[in-house]
Symmetry: C2
Subunit: 233 residues, 2 copies
């Protein structure tokens, strides 16, 4: 497809990222045509993910100063990223110059910490939704939220829906439908338990028990980070 304009995509990658937040949209966006995809972090050393295998950054912060699409994935590691001035500085700088400023899952909180969602509608993983307000964003309960050039997705698997929507915006609906067919995205979840409104009480209880054990006091931690970064929460 030589007639397509080049599109550069920069994903932030970081320790304890939820890797599917990144690899899902990366698969879809790599089919934009004439695309370059980079995974960017402080060094090119392998970065541990939440899934038991590492991802390998392709570039470092000082090698990438501009991209057409900035995408920040989520995961438990976002709490450290939000407190990391070097990482937040890079996200802020990239977000100022990118055509599209995007996130999947709790990556939205990193965009928020970088000041990129102030005054914007946004979404994030359902269990962290209200935390968007700490950073001056308006939480909207939808799987994908578009506000001007900010496109944010909900939890983990929303990255696929998110990326197809972005492909449609950039290359048109016909191209997005072609990409959907190529990845056979005709989902048939074996259960209907993918949102808090749909899950039964036992499943929700199991979820919160695990999160409260894995990341105790997370909401207060994020609120404190927002205050230290000058947000009035």
């Amino acid at each position: 497809m030589p007639e397509l304009s080049p599109i550069s995509v920069a994903f932030l990658v970081f320790p304890n990222v939820t890797q599917l937040d990144l690899t899902g949209p990366a698969q879809i966006l790599s089919r934009l045509g004439n695309t370059s995809i980079d995974l960017v972090w402080k060094t090119r050393d392998p970065v541990p993910t939440d899934s038991g295998f590492p991802l390998l950054p392709t570039k470092t912060f000082d090698e990438v100063s501009q991209a057409d699409i900035l995408c920040v994935p989520g995961g438990f590691g976002t709490v450290d990223v939000m407190q990391d001035d070097e990482a937040i500085g890079w996200v802020r700088s990239m977000g100022t110059g990118a055509d599209w400023v995007t996130s999947v899952c709790t990556g939205a909180l990193v965009l928020g910490a970088a000041g990129l969602l102030k005054g914007y509608e946004a979404t994030t993983h359902w269990a962290s939704h209200e935390q968007l307000a700490f950073f001056g964003a308006t939480p909207v309960k939808r799987r994908i939220v578009l506000d001007r050039n900010r496109l944010t997705g909900g939890g983990v698997t929303s990255g696929i829906d998110f990326a197809l929507a972005l492909v449609a915006r950039i290359r048109g609906e016909a191209h997005a439908k072609f990409v959907q067919l190529s990845v056979e995205y005709d989902p048939h979840p074996p259960f209907d338990s993918g949102a808090p409104e749909k899950a039964d009480a036992e499943t929700l209880e199991r979820y919160w028990a695990l999160v409260n054990k894995a990341a105790p006091g997370r909401v207060e931690t994020v609120r404190a980070i927002a205050r230290r970064r000058g947000f009035d929460t």
Copy 2:
């Protein structure tokens, strides 16, 4: 969850793999609890994927001789893997000892080339479906096909449905529903173009034009590989 029995998962990784075939199920299966995930190839050097960034093998063939779950992802690189005696030998040996012999997308053709689908029902990416018969398998048009301990998924994104079904088999339905909620798997594809029966004629035409350019004569190539491997096609 210390009471859960340990589960080991070995993914084959190879050059020009469709990375979401692997990273999607790896995300889900990493939440089985008490799980180890390995990406296995000849060396630990970075392996290029179809998405513009590499994956890093965590182990080599000679370091992994057994796993509870073997999973082979797909992609254009499968044609080389099917002709690679070392890789096919490892897949065959692993498949003989694993509790679950599984694939996503055209990874099923690799299982087939290793003789692991002879006499089994199976599925694969819709565009390669009939090629399963070259290896003595019975192609079944479903997103996930279970036949004894063989569990095969359709194209790319089916790996998420596939992995949730496997979690339910191994840890029970309640655990699978918890995992589904944790990854917010409540898909809302922006278009309904994820299967050949649903896509419009223009989309199908665009798809075949690209595949025939990227991998001309692929069906005959796969048939010839099957013949050389002793299958009567």
